[in-house]
């Protein structure tokens, strides 16, 4: 395995009551890997993703991403970490409805302080790469689900993140749109992008991932490499 981009060591996450969402999970993911985290509802998939994204903190254990100890970051440092290292794609896109497509894509760069013109060039380039540049001036509400998810992917890639996190990226899409997104992620991985995706969709996992991690009741039940998935 190459040098790990993500390293979770004995990570647990407990909420107020009930069993732990994650229980002693240790995981190393190398650069360029595409890992699909699988498991039934409540198995801890989203919690794992939130911890890696710095959206949540573990109750115990350590989370290191691209050399950064994420578990101890404050809110501001965590935000800066996400800008620099992470691109996120959500099941329901989470695009801002009152911004145009290009403004949505530009936003992460602008939060870093990138000049508008520079950010616009990069956004336009990404939209072109993803085949949706014609929608640059449109509002997300006018796009199809697949197109919206492409916009979300473009936004996630805006700051050239070391890691792309995708939470059920095809979960809200029809078959055709789902296929588009599957292909997009496969292409991104082929270009060397490290990807962690959380999904119920085995087809998606098989299409995009080089490795699957099976979570059951907050523990790693299986961790297997897929050969020749494409």
């Amino acid at each position: 395995m190459t040098a790990p981009v993500i390293e979770l060591t004995d990570v647990s996450r407990r909420y107020d009551e009930g069993p732990p969402a994650l229980d002693g999970v240790s995981l190393r993911i190398g650069a360029g890997e595409a890992v699909a985290v699988l498991g039934p509802s409540g198995s801890g998939k989203s919690t794992l993703l939130n911890l890696v994204a710095g959206l949540d903190r573990p109750s115990s254990g350590t989370v290191t991403v691209d050399g950064v100890r994420v578990d101890g970051l404050g809110e501001a440092a965590s935000a800066r970490y996400r800008r620099a290292k992470i691109g996120m794609v959500f099941q329901f896109f989470n695009l801002l409805d009152d911004l145009t497509v290009v403004d949505n894509v530009m936003l992460p760069a602008q939060l870093v302080g990138t000049a508008r013109a520079v950010a616009r060039r990069r956004a336009t380039e990404l939209l072109g790469t993803l085949g949706i540049e014609r929608h640059a001036a449109a509002y997300p509400g006018r796009l199809s689900g697949g197109e919206r998810q492409r916009v979300a992917v473009a936004r996630a890639l805006m700051n050239r993140p070391a890691l792309l996190l995708a939470d059920e990226p095809t979960g809200a899409l029809d078959t055709a749109s789902g296929e588009e997104v599957r292909q997009l992620l496969t292409d991104l991985h082929a270009e060397g992008q490290t990807i962690v995706l959380v999904t119920h969709d085995l087809t998606l996992a098989e299409a995009c991932a080089t490795r699957t991690v099976q979570l059951v009741d907050g523990r790693v039940a299986a961790d297997s490499r897929l050969e020749s998935v494409r």
Partner: protein, 794 residues
């Protein structure tokens, strides 16, 4: 618990911010309304109320003790038309030599206690007399305290055998002005000069006293009940009432305006916040209706939900208002001579019921509207605004060369225009009210400033003790007893001393007399000036200051009463001599209700050749130390029987009232407006929490989040300020115009134009300040919101 009760309880409990905001707003509004209402009550016919509170004497009569007996006078209480009487009280006149102020004879009445069926005197300082050697003085509200003896001072009576002295043990106020001082009855004989006629005073209340004829009838009945020629003098309460108003004629409308402002603020702000609070629950109303709640149940639930915190807030507000009103009433009592001791119960009840009625009606109306909507429509309300709302603003803002969090925030108000309009209204109201309150206060300060006719005043009489040695400190605790009454001042010597004194910029000498004018039924006061300084100490409205004998300047009420205009000629009668004069100017002069004639001494010389200035006002050159000037001038005046004093500012009791109220009301208005903004921003933040989560997931730092939320109120704050400040100015102009109309005065520009461009800009920016103040708290919450939680929120 019923379903309805559960909804109310959860609504009150879970929407804590809203509950607290409603409670606080109602509390502050009720406090302001109690204050305002009390001021309105205090300002309503203050003399009549004070007169009623003290059971004032409709007729104050004086009798010659040599021509009647105490028993005969006591029997006069049964004269026709007399309902109550007090006395007989022995009466005499003393001429004390005291340290402060001009020497004046004082009518002293022997009264064992301050109370009684008629003229229940209010002791405002110290205590009532308990034995010989003590005196309680009547506090003259028209004189500054520095010119009146105070508690502890000693009045020496060198003219009387043995040179007795009286210690001032109290200051009291008789609205009927029945005496200048009171001693114990047995003291009066010792205070009566040998050969002087002893007298008695009787105080009567009449069953009919509304007109001069009715009081005259009472007087005649009393006169008929005592031996012939026993009655040596009588004073009608109507005369006292006419004279009592003095300068307070202008204060009454000011205080009423403040009162109205407080009450209006209460009504508008409560309505605004309650309507906002209910509208925030619109989505929840949709959920309740989907569960089977009827529109009537929804309306009841939301009305009660608003009333729960409102009742708590209103009760706390009444308590706060009653506490805050005490120092304010102490000041209005000092100004009006009233003895109000607290909030009138009717004001408390009216404010409490009124405030809760406003809450209930507003909540009912807002909830009714939501209750009538179709459930599916209501469910659609209260979500993040959909596409199409304010997108043009977002596009435009995105192009601004500002950090992205700022431009994101700037565009937000345009997504919900109606709600933003409500925030603008709250801010505009706060800015307008603050502008109005501060402007009105400044105007009154200017009114008072017009009454200051110099930096130093010189009045007849000498200081009680010799000035301290050069450079030496005044001797503390030394008795302040004079060696004898001072002789009349020599005007030539006074003027020489003034003009020789370094630091004198100008001076005016003032002689006071009475004249009658054609068209007037009673005499008016005439101030006759010498010197060159008077012209600059009065605010001219039109025309010019008099330049030569035969010219007069007057105020608008005089012009109105005589039916004249500037430029007209009129005949004054002084000591039976007719003096034709020309009105050359109109001044702003609230003294004597504007019924003063100002002219040169030479104008009245034909009628009063010996008319001399009694007081002098000196204007100092800039940079002159008034205290040092007065000390040097008093040294120069030591042989002249005149005393110089710095014109004191401490007597401006009404200014303390106004400035206290201005500060209090402005603070309350700003707080309430900021609470209105807070309420709306909390709602906005709650609704946008999912978007907030997205922003944070994309890397928005807490500082950027705060910037975005604060920026979201910048536009509304600026618009609110820009609208509110001019409205405040307009309100101030309208109020002053109305005050001028009611009081009969033409107000000078210095009183009306109190705003400078800089202060106006500050009031405008104050709107932004209010908005930012209200947004800071929810901005902090937004920054602290956990990203994962926000993203899960739908």
């Amino acid at each position: 618990m019923s379903a309805l009760g559960g909804v109310v309880r959860s609504g009150v409990g879970r929407r804590r911010v809203q509950t607290v905001v409603i409670g606080l707003v109602v509390m502050i509004a009720v406090t302001a309304a109690v204050l305002g209402g009390s001021l309105m009550v205090a300002a309503e016919a203050p003399f009549d109320r004070a007169f009623a509170q003290q059971h004032g004497a409709h007729l104050t009569a004086q009798f010659d003790a040599a021509r009647t007996t105490a028993a005969q006078l006591a029997a006069s209480a049964t004269a026709a038309g007399v309902t109550e009487a007090a006395g007989p009280f022995p009466i005499t006149t003393i001429t004390p030599a005291e340290e402060r102020g001009p020497v004046r004879p004082i009518t002293v009445v022997g009264r064992a206690d301050a109370g009684g069926p008629v003229d229940a005197v209010t002791v405002t300082e110290g205590r009532w007399v308990t034995g010989p050697g003590e005196i309680v003085l009547h506090g003259d509200i028209r004189l500054p305290p520095s010119l009146q003896p105070g508690v502890g001072d000693v009045l020496s009576l060198p003219d009387l055998p043995g040179g007795p002295a009286l210690t001032v043990v109290g200051v009291a106020r008789s609205v009927s002005e029945t005496a200048g001082g009171w001693v114990v009855p047995e003291q009066v004989a010792a205070l009566t000069a040998p050969g002087a006629t002893a007298g008695y005073q009787m105080l009567y209340r009449l069953d009919a006293s509304g007109t001069a004829a009715q009081v005259d009838a009472g007087r005649a009945a009393v006169q008929a009940s005592v031996p012939a020629e026993a009655l040596t003098g009588a004073r009608s309460w109507l005369t006292t009432r006419t004279n009592s108003a003095g300068n307070t004629v202008l204060f009454v409308p000011f205080l009423i305006a403040f009162g109205v402002l407080g009450v209006l603020m209460a009504v508008l702000i409560i309505g605004n916040v309650i309507a906002g609070a209910v509208s925030t629950g619109t989505h929840r109303i949709g959920v309740l209706k989907a569960l089977g709640f009827t529109p009537r149940q929804v309306v009841r639930a939301y009305t009660v939900q608003a009333l729960v915190p409102a009742v708590v807030g209103a009760l706390l507000g009444v308590v706060a208002g009653n506490l805050l009103v005490l120092p304010v009433l102490a000041q209005t009592n000092a100004v009006y001579g009233t003895s109000d001791s607290g909030v009138t119960p009717s004001v408390n009840v009216l404010v409490l019921v009124g405030a809760l009625a406003v809450v209930a009606v507003t909540a009912w109306a807002a909830a009714s509207r939501a209750g009538r909507l179709r459930t599916v429509e209501v469910l659609a309300v209260g979500r993040t605004p959909g596409p199409g709302r304010g997108q043009w603003a977002a596009r435009l803002a995105a192009r601004l060369p500002l950090p992205r969090p700022v431009t994101l925030g700037l565009a937000q108000p345009f997504a919900r225009v109606l709600r933003s309009a409500t925030v603008v209204a709250a801010i505009a109201f706060g800015a307008a009210a603050a502008t109005f309150a501060v402007g009105l206060g400044a105007s009154l300060n200017e009114v008072r400033a017009t009454e200051k006719h110099g930096d130093v005043v010189i009045f007849p009489g000498r200081p009680m003790s010799a000035p301290p040695p050069e450079g030496g400190p005044p001797v503390e605790g030394s008795p302040r007893v004079a060696s004898g009454p001072p002789p009349a001042p020599d005007p030539v010597a006074v003027v020489e001393a003034i003009t020789a004194q370094a630091g004198t910029a100008g001076y005016s000498g003032v002689a006071q007399t009475e004249v009658t004018a054609a068209g007037l039924t009673s005499a008016v006061e005439a101030l006759a000036f010498t010197g060159d300084g008077a012209a600059s100490s009065y605010e001219m409205i039109s025309g010019s200051w008099f330049r030569q004998p035969g010219e007069i300047v007057v105020a608008r009420p005089f012009l109105t009463a005589t039916g004249t205009r500037v430029g007209d000629s009129i005949v004054l009668t002084d000591h039976g001599r007719q003096i034709p004069v020309r009105i050359v100017g109109e001044v702003f002069n609230p003294e004597s209700r504007g019924m003063q004639v100002l002219t040169a001494v030479a104008t009245l010389a034909a009628a009063q050749p010996d008319l001399r200035a009694v007081e002098y006002f000196v204007t100092l050159t800039p940079g002159t130390d008034p205290a040092a000037y007065v000390q040097a001038l008093n040294t120069a005046l030591s042989s002249v029987e005149a005393t110089a004093e710095v014109v004191e500012q401490e007597a401006e009791e009404v200014l303390i009232v106004i400035n206290t109220l201005t500060t209090l009301l402005t603070l309350m208005l700003v707080t309430v407006a900021a609470l209105g903004v807070l309420n709306m921003v909390v709602l906005e933040t709650r609704e946008r929490v999912h978007d907030l989560g997205v922003h944070k997931a994309l890397g928005m730092t807490p500082r950027q989040t705060i910037t975005m939320v604060v920026a979201s109120v910048v536009v509304t704050g600026l618009i609110g300020g820009a609208v509110g400040a001019p409205v405040g100015v307009l309100m101030q102009r309208l109020t002053l115009g109305e005050m001028g109309r009611v009081t009969g005065f033409e107000l000078p520009a210095s009183v009306v134009d109190v705003y400078t461009p800089v202060t106006l800009a500050l009031f405008g920016l104050g709107g932004l300040g209010i908005a930012v103040l209200g947004a800071l708290l929810p901005a902090g919450w937004a920054a602290r919101t956990r990203t994962a939680t926000a993203l899960r929120t739908e």
